[in-house]
């Protein structure tokens, strides 16, 4: 039973279609991320769920309650939707201290003084801000400002939390820490999270499921593992993690790297669902390529860069450059040597115009 439902949602800004026929089903208690490059429509979608933008077509409902519908001409403004939201730049009010910031949504709802104080304190406690209750935002750090935003959002005990790139303004160490904190809060309170980010490692670390978007169109929905190991198309493959795209040809039941047939065939099992046509694209991760003495397609080590734990190789197969990353311990080749390459889990796609 899906809790958050978007059906055939479309949004246009003038001539530009920001979101196109989007369908999403989110379970209750799920941590659901929308991931994609800037301009892909993820933030617009979040804002439609929040109510700051209204859809042009389609319907949005949460927990069976209709929020917005083009057919029924219905639109519920944000202040009535009862969600918690955390913004990228925190949006913490500088003229109010921490307590007043967190208490604000409770005050709006006209609760009694004692209840406001109690629930505010509870939220502050859950986000570790007890020491800063009377402090003002300009007196505390970025991470703590983010916690104020979180506390303010959970104070009303929302069923859904909307997070708009909340961690991108924090430094890397803090980002990791806050990820865990958000997950912990979700565990304690049980709300559903809709999370927007352009950072794929963040999406993967946090989410139960990820929706990858591009130019307003949904590309793939799945668990982080699925998205990484079984990307539905070339864009997703390149967007998540490092990648190599090699133009390849199929001939006599074997696959060759285009224009480098002399180096031998790509040694791997021919998958059954190979795209049609003599020309295809072979995609593989730098960390999923073996370098051997004589087992595989022939190549030449053009560059070897020491990166500490990892050694980064640039290997030439004919005129095509392939990037290989090996751990320090298994990096046995030196620059200028000949070697052979074996692709562990290659993916195959239609020959396409190169995705930048």
């Amino acid at each position: 039973m899906s809790y958050v439902k978007l059906e055939h949602v479309t949004k246009r800004f003038g001539k530009v279609t920001a979101v196109s026929d989007l369908n999403i089903d989110i379970e209750q208690g799920e941590c659901f991320s929308m991931l994609g490059p800037s301009g892909c429509g993820k933030t617009t979608t979040l804002r439609m769920v929040a109510g700051f933008e209204d859809l042009d077509e389609g319907e949005i409902s949460v927990g069976g309650r209709l929020l917005s519908s083009s057919v029924k001409k219905y639109y519920l403004p944000p202040e009535k939707r009862n969600f918690g939201m955390v913004f990228q730049a925190f949006a913490v009010w500088p003229h109010l201290n921490v307590f007043d910031n967190v208490a604000f949504p409770l005050q709006i709802r006209g609760l009694s003084r004692t209840e406001i104080a109690e629930r505010t304190r509870k939220a502050i406690l859950h986000t570790g801000l007890e020491k800063y209750e009377t402090a003002y935002p300009n007196e505390i750090s970025g991470g703590q400002k983010q916690r104020i935003a979180l506390a303010r959002a959970i104070a009303i005990n929302p069923s859904v939390m909307l997070l708009d790139e909340p961690l991108s303004n924090l430094d890397p160490k803090l980002r990791e820490e806050m990820r865990f904190e958000i997950k912990d809060l979700q565990r304690k309170f049980g709300f559903t999270i809709i999370f927007v980010t352009h950072d794929q490692s963040e999406a993967m670390a946090l989410s139960d499921r990820i929706l990858v978007m591009r130019d307003g169109v949904a590309q793939q929905v799945g668990t982080p593992l699925d998205i990484y190991t079984k990307p539905a198309n070339r864009f997703i493959f390149s967007f998540i993690g490092l990648s190599n795209f090699l133009p390849a040809t199929v001939a006599d039941g074997a696959i060759y790297v285009a224009n480098s047939e002399a180096c031998g065939p790509v040694t791997c099992d021919l998958p059954s669902n190979l795209p049609p046509g003599p020309r295809i694209t072979l995609a593989c991760r730098p960390s999923e390529i073996e370098l051997t003495r004589d087992d595989g397609i022939r190549g030449f080590i053009k560059q070897k860069t020491y990166l500490g734990d990892i050694i980064d190789y640039r290997v030439m197969i004919g005129a095509t450059e392939v990037r290989v990353q090996k751990s320090r311990k298994s990096a046995l080749f030196a620059k200028g040597e000949n070697c052979c390459l074996r692709f562990n889990r290659p993916h195959f796609y239609l020959q396409e115009h190169v995705v930048p």
């Binding site: 403004p77 202040e79 913004f87 990228q88 730049a89 949006a91 009010w93 500088p94 300009n138 009303i156």
Partner: protein, 556 residues
């Protein structure tokens, strides 16, 4: 290293001569008689009914102007920045026009329209409604407050609309998602966050009003309503410039300085309180309020406001300037261009005035620009101890009213140190330099700060000496700032009245002085004609600035 110290010393010297000494002389003259500290005379002057009245009026006017300017400024700023009012861009420009026009010319126009005996609107209203006496008396505190408000509200408008436009929209969005409706958001979030800008604008208005000469002079002096600057003027001219009058003037000036100081202190206080980081990094536009039914009425209101406060006075000036005699009806037979021809091509007095204004302002702008650049360079780029002294001296005159600077310059350059420049153009020039140095410093400092050290250092690494780096890198990059400083000073100096009215001699009238004295002498039509010419010059000047600054920006 030696060169840096020399430059520092030179800069300090310039600022001391131009700024510090005049101020000290004023204080000295006010509080010291024959070398002895004398507070008795000071108190006596302050408690005279005349001066006491002037002080009271100053405060009442300033308070009134500040109050109304704040309301009007905030209202229109909100209308233009936060609603879907149509033609917003045009409205914004139109609201800024009062900023460019000299308020004393506005006072002149309103005198012509609402003077109880001969004002055109007064006559119209009286005949339409069959009244026996004038419904409004423009020669009143209320009149002064109204006219000053019309020309000063842009201070508040600019601050608040700028802040509203740059405000981080998520601050309001997070309030919305927390459940607050528009009214609550405005009350609890938007307004409190705007307070620093409102405060800053309001204080600027108060500062300006306290120090203002033109409007109270035209609308108040005739009926015995004085504020401090007009009182100072009255005393000095009544006495023919004798020392006792000057002494009284310095005492009154001290009040001006103190009140200006208090206001600036308050302002820095408010600005510190406005440590809020409300400005967003992303360029997201704030969500606009849909006015719906109120859209057209509010648009009409804005247009009427602009029509009344900007169009009406300006048109009046131009039209009266073409009358053969003041008081005649506006018919084609009664209107002529002869007045304009006369003041431009035949009357020496007005020709001199125009010429004087041009070359004194030009010289002042040039000198201030160059000296300001040098001093800014020392402050921003050089590592010498004692820079704070320069900063302090540079900003000081900014807080001094034009009247005070004029007085200080009189005290210093009327023979005390062997040089007597009184009644010459030089004394006006020196006063302008003192008055506007702060603007030049601000503008040039800002430009210099944009030129990162690494740009100079990169040149050094390429083999350029310090001087070559200055010539090839720094100066080309600060040229726009210097040009901006030039115009920032040239135009205000061209049209100002407050300072030159105390310093002019028979041959050294400025445009502002000429208009004012023409009005005093009852030559209303000529005053209006000259005012029209002044307005045209100012508008052309503003357009030139826009063209020059825009092209500089694009050229980068």
């Amino acid at each position: 290293m030696g060169i840096a110290e020399i430059l520092l010393a030179l800069s300090v010297l310039v600022l001391v001569v131009v700024v510090a000494i005049p101020v000290l002389l004023i204080l000295g003259t006010a509080f010291f008689v024959d070398g002895h500290f004398n507070i008795k005379d000071v108190v006596q002057v302050l408690t005279e009914p005349d001066t006491y009245e002037a002080l009271k009026n100053s405060l009442v006017i300033a308070a009134g102007v500040t109050l109304f300017s704040t309301f009007i400024g905030v209202f229109f700023a909100w209308l233009v920045s936060r609603t879907d009012l149509p033609f917003k861009g045009t409205m914004k420009l139109l609201f800024l026009i009062p900023f460019m026009l000299p308020s004393f010319i506005g006072a002149l126009a309103w005198k012509m329209l609402l003077s109880p005996r001969s004002g055109y609107i007064t006559k119209l209203l009286m005949s339409s409604f069959g009244l026996e006496s004038a419904p409004f008396n423009i020669y009143s505190l209320a009149g002064i407050i109204a006219v000053e408000t019309m020309y000063l509200f842009p201070f508040v408008f600019i601050q608040v609309s700028g802040a509203l436009e740059r405000m981080d929209p998520t601050l309001e969005e997070s309030a919305r998602i927390s459940g607050a409706g528009l009214f609550t958001i405005t009350r609890r979030i938007t307004l409190p966050l705007m307070m620093p800008s409102i405060g800053a604008g309001a204080l600027l208005v108060a500062l300006y009003s306290l120090a203002h000469f033109g409007v109270p002079a035209i609308l108040g002096s005739e009926v015995g309503i004085y504020n401090i600057p007009t009182k100072i003027y009255e005393r000095i001219y009544q006495s023919g410039g004798n020392f006792s009058a000057i002494r009284t003037a310095t005492i009154l000036s001290t009040i001006l300085v103190v009140s200006a100081g208090v206001i600036l202190y308050l302002q820095s206080f408010i600005l510190k309180a406005g440590r809020f980081q409300v400005i967003s990094g992303k360029s997201m536009r704030p969500v606009l309020l849909k006015l719906r039914g109120m859209k057209i009425p509010l648009l009409i209101l804005s247009i009427i406001y602009i029509a009344i406060t900007v169009v009406l006075p300006t048109v009046t000036i131009f039209m009266v300037g073409t009358l053969k005699t003041y008081g005649l009806e506006f018919t084609a037979a009664n209107m002529t261009l002869d007045n304009i021809k006369y003041i431009l091509f035949e009357w020496k007095m007005t020709q001199d005035a125009i010429w004087n204004s041009f070359y004194i302002s030009l010289a002042a702008a040039l000198v201030t620009m160059l000296v300001g650049t040098l001093i800014s360079y020392v402050i921003v780029k050089m590592k010498v101890r004692g820079k704070f002294l320069l900063e302090f001296l540079g900003v000081l005159p900014f807080s001094l009213p034009g009247t005070v600077i004029a007085l200080g310059v009189i005290l210093m350059w009327s023979g005390r140190f062997g040089v007597n420049l009184y009644n010459t153009a030089w004394i006006i020039l020196i006063a302008y330099i003192a008055r506007y140095m702060a603007f030049s410093l601000k503008s040039n400092s800002a430009a210099l700060e944009q030129v990162h050290d690494s740009l100079e250092e990169a040149a050094r690494a390429c083999g350029a000496t310090h001087w070559q780096a200055l010539k090839d890198i720094v100066i080309p990059l600060i040229k726009p700032g210097m040009v901006a400083a030039f115009f920032l000073i040239f135009l205000p100096a061209l049209r100002e009245l407050t300072t030159s009215v105390l310093l002019y001699g028979p041959k050294t009238r400025t445009i502002g002085v000429a208009i004012y004295t023409l009005n005093e002498d009852g030559e209303t039509v000529y005053a209006a004609a000259l005012a029209s010419v002044a307005l045209v010059i100012i508008v052309i000047g503003q357009l030139v600035i826009k063209r020059v600054t825009r092209s500089k920006l694009e050229g980068e």
